[in-house]
Amino acid sequence: MSVAATHFNYLAVVVLMMIGLYVLFSTRNLIKQMIGLGLFQTSTALFYISLGKVSGGTAAIKIYADSVEGRMLAAPLDPDFVQQFGVGGVVYSNPLPHVLILTAIVVGVATLSVGLSIAVRIREAYGTVEADEIEAVTRVDAARVGRDP
């Protein structure tokens, strides 16, 4: 199979990351920027998960090979394949990326909420969430700073 097929997931993930980054950098609206950031982070998560997928595998929750479920999972697979890559007669996907991404997702929501709360305060202090207008005001502030005579 060509690279486009064997690496389709990765390429798709790349596209998603690019979309996220584009949203982030192409808007001057703080809320929209946070959305873009979220997209970018999520796509990174998808990348990790793609890494951990084992074709023919199943979720990394202990299954007994002789149970109904176990037999059902093994059915479509080549026995040698199961023998070689299975654990206890069942092929699982790689749990490690899942763990890492659980962390990443939670970090993502943490960032999101902090960022948005700052955005809200900005709205209260500047009356807008458009970066351009904020910068205009900031320049004025910068000109004004100093010890009160």
Partner: protein, 506 residues
């Protein structure tokens, strides 16, 4: 390392656990601070915590000095299955640095917060401060690539809000904090992405385990891109030119405590991680050398020249110092980019020196701001008469920044230049000379205003900072002076770190 022998007083049982206690201590302290009834209690908690962290850090450093690198397997699972802390000379140095800065900051916060943070916010503020401290300490101690990301975020998430709290004095802190958050998160995500590539190539996340596997792997586009993303991501955190945009507003707007702490630790921790990856994890080879020679070094040089220039044309003192920080990061990376033991040692030495001097400078500026809203260079006119002691401390820090003899900054520049000469990189010497000259100009402007100009007519008068602020301030500038006369301790730490990184010592 005699000093550690002297300071090393932790009972053995504690020493065995010291590496994790350095991190866990502040974490638990943060909880205690959050639960404490009032700002005063929270402050006491945070000081005690910082003392404990420093004590443990000293114990760790002593252990490293005696035994060499330490591995601490968390959860009792040996790496690569479990997460392990790995502390070598460089890590120990960083831990010492961060813990001491943390303590100074904690002491300083006692008075600083009163003028900068609303009373009801102080407990949470202290708690957040301790979380950041824990984050940075974890970042420099961990031996696991993904765990490093987690601590990167632990240190960042809190920081964003702490910076934003500066709104109380200057609303520009808010957009600055938001900017910092966007940049920082993109950086962290890029880092995770890079780690993902390395994981895909090696199947492990433990740095020590990763290195040999990468070496065996040879040239691989995923690995190279991994390096690129990791350095870019951390470069954002390290304010590596041209990824430094977030730093200016953040340092200028944040409460002075946060500025002090960030200026002295944040970028340093990221630089540490970059160095760790470039020299400790990635196999030497053409790719790495080209990267150092053709990307890192030129960018560092650009930072030195351009940002120093910008500093010259800046009005607000804090922004001048912020620009200068970016330039100084350039100095450090120039040293590292030589990829020689001498160069790395110089870089690490410079890193420590810069942490101390910038700590002193930002703290002094904060001290002035306690009594009077002095922001611009004009505001600083004649402030030396109004607050002589803080001004003196500021002057020492400034002298060290310029690289005046008998300060640590001088020795730092000295070793940097001589290592560049040894490596035959004359152009780096030229850059350093020009950079120092520019530094001289912008520092000179501030000092002239402080010491040789009369105060602005009718301006509110500054008054000397309280003792609680002067003590940590003097510790910072005192160290800059002391290490300028006898640099045995930092020099030995730096040399040890460098030889570890260059694989000359375990």
């Amino acid at each position: 390392m005699i000093l550690f022998e002297a300071l090393y007083v932790a009972p053995p049982a504690l020493t065995a656990q010291a590496p994790i206690l350095v991190i866990a201590g502040p974490l638990i302290g943060a909880c205690a601070a959050a639960l404490s009834p009032g700002g005063r209690t929270a402050w006491v908690v945070s000081v005690l915590t910082a003392v404990f962290a420093l004590w443990m850090a000293v114990a760790v450093a002593g252990e490293v000095a005696r035994e060499g690198a330490i591995d601490y397997a968390l959860g009792g699972f040996a790496p690569p299955m479990g997460i392990a802390l790995r502390i070598d000379a460089l890590g120990a140095t960083m831990a010492l640095l961060i813990a001491s800065v943390g303590l100074m900051g904690a002491l300083y916060s006692g008075h600083a917060l009163e003028s900068e943070v609303r009373a009801e916010k102080r407990t949470l503020f202290q708690s957040g401060y301790l979380v950041c401290l824990a984050g940075f300490l974890g970042l420099v101690l961990t031996g696991d690539a993904f765990n490093a990301f987690v601590f990167l975020e632990v240190s960042s998430i809190g920081t964003y809000a702490l910076v934003a709290v500066g709104e109380a004095r200057d609303r520009r802190a808010l957009p600055a904090a938001f900017n910092y958050l966007i940049f920082g998160t993109v950086g962290a995500t890029l880092y995770v992405l890079g780690v993902g590539f390395l994981y895909a190539a090696t199947g492990t996340l433990n740095l020590a385990d990763m290195a040999p596997r990468l070496a065996a792997l040879g040239d691989n586009s995923a690995v190279q891109a991994g390096l690129a993303f990791i350095v870019a991501g951390l470069g954002v955190k390290a304010a590596m030119f041209p990824l430094h945009g977030w730093l200016l507003g953040a340092y200028a707007g944040a409460p002075s405590l946060v500025s002090v702490f960030l200026a002295a630790t944040a970028t340093k921790a990221a630089i540490y991680l970059i160095i760790r990856f470039v020299f400790g994890v990635f196999p030497e080879g053409e790719f790495g050398e080209n990267f150092l020679r053709w990307i890192l070094a030129p960018l560092a040089a650009a930072a030195v020249i351009i940002c120093s220039m910008q500093a010259i044309f800046e009005r607000e003192v804090r922004r001048i110092l912020a620009f200068s920080s970016v330039a100084q990061v350039g100095f450090i990376l120039l040293g590292a980019s030589l990829a020689t033991t001498a160069g790395l040692s110089a870089g690490v030495f410079y890193l420590v020196a810069h942490a101390l001097m910038k700590g002193a400078l930002f703290m002094a500026v904060g001290a002035f701001a306690i009594s009077v809203r002095a922001r611009t260079v004009e505001d600083f006119s004649g402030i030396a008469r109004e607050a002589p002691w803080s001004a003196a401390a500021f002057a020492v820090g400034a002298a060290s920044l310029v690289g005046a003899p008998l300060t640590m900054g001088f020795l730092a520049k000295w070793s940097l230049v001589s290592s560049a000469l040894q490596a035959g990189e004359i152009w780096i010497v030229v850059v350093l000379a020009i950079g120092s000259l520019l530094t001289l100009i912008y520092v000179g402007r501030i000092l002239e205003a402080m010491f040789f100009r009369a105060p602005v007519r009718g301006a509110e008068r500054a008054s000397e900072a309280p003792v609680g602020v002067l003590v940590p301030l003097f510790v910072f500038s005192g160290l800059s002076l002391w290490f300028g006369v006898d640099a045995t301790l930092p020099a030995s730490l730096a040399n040890a770190s460098a030889s570890v990184l260059m694989g000359e010592a375990p």
